[in-house]
């Protein structure tokens, strides 16, 4: 084998050995730069990679003389203690001269710039120095066989880097799916998580998601991270005067920042907001904010931003669809409950009366408005689990109907009181109820309220043998059953509210 081929083979062996020994993009490039410095006897080496658009070179790794550290033009330090060496530029615009070898004067000194190409395609630059005008002969001799393997390594490393970025994006998506398991219906939690993951993976300091009310109305902040409450409160998102200029129906849905002064006053250094559209239907805005110099919104960040924007868009779209479906579904369940009541004269209007009585009890107990509303909704459908009862299995169906009824609405985006109350409306305070024999505070409050309301409505309605019980009789029953069937607190509230409870509407109407 000729001597030069043996030299090239030896260089290949050294390069392959470096690549096999080191793992990871940056460590491999560092090791290659060390090899270049060792073989060429030049202490400084900088490796630039041409971007995919072929317009600019980006500094990948830099090797500075031992015992020094670099200083960027902006003042940031690289490396540890030691003397200071000006660092090379982070980016270089591509020029026609980069296709050939040349000497360049840089902040890091006079360097020899060597193109690294494969099959005629320029991949990057290797800049070595310091030099006077050209590489010393021994350095050229040692380095010439390294250029092809270096270009190959650079291409390999670049491909690995791109793959890793894709892997990171894929892992981020998997992470999203995994962390959101079991919370598919909780839109705010979902959006919060996506925002958190987006900020972390794009290394952005803050961000927010604003959504458009499906029934019209302006953009409203839904979730934010990294913004102080003061900044969040000052975000004006109104369409006419707010931060963004966005008319989703016009100009293809283009979204831009309108209020630069406010953005500047709030300390925003950079802000990238993308519109979330379902076709032509506006869903909201997803925005990332940086207060310092760190935000670059580079190609990788933009890809991740798009991934998360897509996820948030899908979630908002699904939530809208689901809310619409849930409303229709709940209306169907309420109709089913009404049709069950209509089967017998004594039960006609039962669910409506239960709703009125349960709501009055909940108010008497001083519960917050959303819990009162949830208890009312539960009362309107509490016996729907009796639908489809086969007479031969009536006992089993009766025992199971609270669980079946709760199961019909458990996955709807409703207040948790609704399913809880339905599931527990036949439990007794002393543990003698069904289906689970829960006791005391183990029984959800909604269930205790519904249980009392059911007793009151049944006593007020009467049955085929006994007519409606008068109020004094009902008051006595409340007293007797307090602490056994009924929660004493709820029984006391019922006793206070008794004169105002609509217990006899059917009989009053029928006897009127």
């Amino acid at each position: 084998m000729p001597r030069t081929e043996r030299g090239a083979e030896e260089r290949w062996r050294q390069v392959l050995s470096v690549l096999a020994r080191e793992s990871g993009y940056e460590r491999r490039l560092d090791a290659l730069l060390d090899l270049v410095a060792e073989l060429g006897g030049l202490p400084s080496g900088h490796l630039y990679l041409l971007d995919e658009g072929g317009r600019r070179f980006h500094l990948q790794r830099s090797r500075l003389p031992a015992g020094t550290h670099g200083v960027q033009a902006g003042g940031g330090l690289e490396g540890g203690a030691g003397s200071v060496t000006p660092a090379p530029p982070l980016e270089l615009p591509r020029t026609p001269a980069d296709e050939g070898e040349r000497t360049v004067d840089t902040p890091a000194g006079r360097l020899r710039s060597l193109p690294l190409a494969l099959d005629g395609e320029l991949l990057g630059l290797l800049q070595l120095g310091p030099v006077d005008n050209d590489l010393p002969r021994h350095a050229r001799h040692a380095l010439e066989p390294l250029r092809f393997p270096l270009a190959l390594a650079l291409q390999r490393a670049r491909d690995e880097h791109a793959l890793r970025q894709q892997l990171d994006a894929a892992l981020a998506r998997i992470d999203v799916s995994r962390r959101l398991e079991g919370s598919a219906l909780d839109l705010d939690r979902f959006v919060d998580l996506l925002l958190e993951l987006a900020l972390r993976s794009t290394r952005t300091e803050a961000g927010f998601v604003a959504t458009v009310d499906p029934n019209g109305g302006p953009l409203a902040l839904r979730s934010h991270r990294g913004l102080t409450d003061g900044v969040a409160e000052q975000l004006d998102l109104s369409p006419e005067t707010g931060l963004f200029d966005w008319s989703p129906a016009a100009e293809g849905g283009a979204l831009v920042l309108r209020d630069f002064e406010t953005a500047s006053r709030l300390g925003f250094r950079s802000l990238l907001a993308v519109p979330l559209l379902d076709g032509d239907v506006p869903l909201g805005v997803f925005a990332l904010v940086n207060f310092g110099e760190s935000g670059t919104f580079d190609e990788d960040s933009l890809e991740l931003l798009e991934t998360y924007a897509e996820q948030i868009k899908l979630m908002l779209r699904n939530a809208r669809l689901f809310e619409s479906f849930a409303e229709e579904y709940l209306a169907t369940v309420k109709s089913l409950a009404r049709s069950l009541d209509a089967r017998r004269a004594l039960t006609r209007g039962h669910h409506e009366r239960m709703a009125a009585v349960a709501e009055a009890l909940a108010r008497e107990l001083g519960l917050p408005g959303d819990e009162v509303e949830a208890i009312r909704t539960a009362a309107l459908i509490h016996d729907v689990g009796l639908a489809g009862v086969v007479e031969a299995e009536a006992y089993i169906a009766d025992i199971a109907h609270p669980t079946i009824g709760a199961g019909l609405v458990a996955h709807l985006p409703l207040h948790p009181f609704v399913a809880e109350a339905i599931a527990a409306h036949h439990e007794w305070f002393d543990g003698w109820g069904f289906p689970h024999g829960l006791k005391g505070e183990e029984i959800p409050l909604g269930g205790r309220v519904l249980g009392a309301a059911e007793l009151l409505v049944e006593l007020g309605t009467g049955d085929a043998v006994r007519g409606p019980m008068p109020l004094d009789g009902i008051a006595a029953e409340l007293d007797v059953r307090s602490g056994s069937q009924l929660d004493p607190r709820v029984a006391a509230a019922a006793a206070r509210a008794l004169p105002r409870l609509p217990l006899y509407p059917i009989h009053e109407k029928e006897t009127a």
Partner: protein, 112 residues
């Protein structure tokens, strides 16, 4: 942000360099307002050396685009690097703005 302006074939070509973020927005607004003065003004922005653009930078470019329309002037962009072009796509302003792949393409279109 650094700016170099020159006139080529009757077109004012402004080459921008650096970041077009919130800090540069007002400077960019003033620059474009001046360049777009007078009916028939033709302005081409060379974005080849722009390292970052965000919604504020895009906002100024869209405002300049509307201003040019209202003044009877012509306004176009050229040579946007990959990430800058992606921001135009993400903000859906790529269909709104006149964007050419190269300065030469932009010059040919505006000079015609």
């Amino acid at each position: 942000m650094n700016v170099t302006t020159e006139e080529r074939s009757g077109v004012k070509v402004a080459a921008l360099e650096g970041a077009l973020g919130v800090a540069a927005a007002l400077e960019l607004r003033d620059l474009l307002d001046g360049l777009l003065e007078g009916p028939g003004a033709k302005v081409l922005l060379d974005l080849g050396a722009v390292t970052l653009i965000d919604s504020s930078g895009v906002g100024i470019l869209v405002t300049a685009h509307r201003l040019a329309d209202s003044r009877g002037a012509a306004f176009a962009l050229a040579a946007a690097p990959g990430p800058v072009g992606r921001v135009f796509e993400l903000t859906r302003t790529d269909k709104l703005l006149r964007i050419y792949a190269t300065v030469e393409d932009g010059l040919a279109a505006l000079a015609a």
